[in-house]
């Protein structure tokens, strides 16, 4: 079966050459001027070589529709262009602040250095502050989300959709803690617990000294457990969101626009005269499992290559279309390619040497603290910390089970997000500058995360809040 497919591809080359416009032969590097005529002799030789190569490749075992073996035919990739817009600018409808004084996934030395364990700020006298002011500050969403994102804090907070990532503080005033402990815990909890999830509210500039004193005064008044009115108010009783919409029904999921659009783009000829359809006339048959093997280590770009970046580089090399990452055509085709692999089991390579190293880097990346809020991925997405709990009204998922529905339509944003855009937002949401979507760090992270989902099946486009 595989032999015939390889030969069919070389036969298609010959047929299309008759139209006077030449799709690039597989494996050929470098650029030919568009529309350059091919001498007859070279054409015959190329077809013969292609046929022999097809036979050779066909002798390797077929596994899940892919050729496994050293001599897999390489898809042409444009290596001489940036896969996303330059200069990289944050999306216009995202928060505009820049956080260059804090770590990103690419910069690990930007944030102020952490304090040494035990290096507390000495507070000799009792803290005087205004509890009413303190309550306002504790409840204030604009200060990096505020305390109630993770903590319940007394009866007044019962109707505020508090989170439960962190301990309920409603009786903290009775817990025998010193003023010095309260102050330092808010200023920079790392002096007590270097592994803490608690953001360094003072050290990273969210609250001033006087404000923290007001907050301490408020917390000291909290001495009675709170009573929630309804199950929705209580993060320990709130029903966990369950997605049950039919994401593949275009009348339910607006994200299905991508499938129509991709089919339309598939036959549009690019600057070099070819369309995707020139080599991939039957996408449905050819890509039943391809996307389930992505992302993958790609030596030619010396990093992990995801579907979206692949679409840019491969389309540019073969058709001339410059479908930049995060553009409408790129998104449509990337969604379509994954959609064609719906039902296929995710199976990414993390055993070959460079892939194994990339996945290990991806794992380490999940432990890296970034942003003004000083969070690592695992702070929210590991069940031993924040996963399967609430941040205000948002449920935090675990690392396994998210990838299969990306790219997803987001009803709260009215657009499709792929996994790279999701990574970018995770950064911005915790006040860390995002990287361009094709960043090597995102690739490592995507490979590691996808490997955690090996065995699960794609269901794309998804639909989520």
């Amino acid at each position: 079966m595989d032999q015939r497919r390889e030969l069919d591809e070389t036969v298609n080359h010959a047929a299309h050459e008759d139209e006077g416009r030449v799709p690039r032969a597989f494996g050929r590097k470098g650029k030919a001027p568009p529309g350059s005529p091919r001498p007859r002799k070279a054409k015959a030789v190329a077809v013969a070589v292609g046929a022999v190569a097809g036979l050779l490749i066909g002798t390797f075992t077929v596994e899940m529709g892919r050729v496994v073996g050293q001599n897999r035919k390489e898809a042409p990739l444009a290596l001489d262009a940036d896969a996303s817009a330059r200069p990289w600018k944050r999306y216009g409808d995202w928060p505009k602040a820049n956080w260059d004084k804090f770590n990103t996934l690419a910069k690990t030395d930007a944030s102020p250095p952490p304090p040494k364990t035990g290096e507390v700020k000495k507070i000799a006298e009792a803290i005087t502050g205004d509890p009413a002011q303190g309550q306002k500050l504790v409840f204030d969403r604009s200060r990096g989300g505020g305390c109630l994102a993770c903590h319940a804090a007394g009866q007044a907070s019962a109707g505020q959709q508090v989170g439960n990532v962190a301990p309920d503080l409603s009786e903290i005033g009775n817990a025998g803690r010193t003023d010095e402990w309260f102050y330092n815990y808010i200023f920079d909890a790392r002096v007590y617990n270097p592994e803490t999830v608690m953001p360094p509210w003072g050290a990273h500039g969210f609250f001033k000294d006087e404000e923290i004193r007001h907050m301490v005064a408020f917390l000291k008044t909290l001495k009675t457990p709170l009573q929630y009115k309804t199950a929705i108010d209580d993060p320990n009783k709130r029903p966990v969101p369950k997605e049950d919409r039919d994401n593949l029904d275009p009348m339910v999921n607006p994200g299905m626009w991508a499938i129509d659009k991709a089919k339309e783009l598939w036959v549009v000829k690019g600057p070099s005269g070819a369309a995707c359809a020139a080599c991939h006339a039957n996408a449905e048959a050819q890509f039943k499992t391809w996307a389930a093997s992505m992302p993958r280590w790609e030596a030619r770009v010396n990093k992990v290559l995801g579907v979206e970046e692949f679409v840019f580089r491969h389309a540019k090399a073969t058709t001339g279309h410059a479908w930049l990452m995060q553009s409408e055509p790129n998104t449509a085709i990337a969604v379509y390619l994954r959609h064609l692999a719906n039902g296929a089991e995710i199976k990414v390579d993390v055993t070959s040497t460079p892939a194994k190293a990339a996945a290990a880097r991806g794992h380490q990346i999940m432990e890296r603290k970034i942003g003004q809020l000083n969070f690592a991925c695992l702070d929210c997405h590991n069940p031993s910390k924040g996963a399967l709990k609430w941040i205000r009204g948002q449920w935090l998922g675990e690392s396994k089970g998210q990838i299969p529905h990306f790219p997803t339509w987001r009803t709260s944003r009215l657009e499709i997000w792929d996994i790279r855009k999701r990574f970018q937002w995770c950064g911005v949401a915790i006040r860390a500058d995002e990287l361009p979507p094709e960043a090597a760090q995102y690739g490592d992270l995507e490979l590691y995360l996808t490997s955690l989902n090996n065995g699960l099946k794609y269901n794309v486009p998804g639909i989520r809040h």
């Binding site: 607006p254 626009w257 129509d260 659009k261 339309e264």
Partner: protein
């Protein structure tokens, strides 16, 4: 933009007097007429400006759309059916094109 694909979903059978839901969807980029291209020239407006549904030739539902209309708009509405027949749907484009589809219903 390829020729817009209209889709319609309604029950194949219904009882006399029943209220049914008619779901419609069409793919269309809906160019507002205020965006500018890379050279700074305004991209001309091209939207679907009217949607009409008739039943057995009689107008049942008509809607005029303006540039704020969503791309790939989903529209659903309800109709009371008293007899068998054919629903005809037409989407009228700024450029004069009309995209059509029909659906039959059997009413017992």
């Amino acid at each position: 933009m390829a020729t817009p694909t209209p889709r319609v979903r309604l029950p194949a059978k219904a009882k006399k007097g029943e209220v049914i839901e008619i779901k419609t969807l069409i793919s269309h980029d809906m160019e507002m007429g205020t965006r500018k291209d890379a050279d700074g020239k305004t991209i001309p407006r091209k939207i679907i400006k009217q949607f009409v549904c008739t039943f057995n030739g009689k107008e049942l539902f008509k809607s005029d759309w303006a540039p704020g209309i969503s791309a790939n708009p989903y529209l659903s509405f309800f109709a009371k059916v008293n007899e068998s027949g054919t629903f005809d749907f037409a989407w009228h484009d700024d450029d004069g094109s009309v995209y059509k589809t029909s659906s039959k219903i059997e009413v017992a």
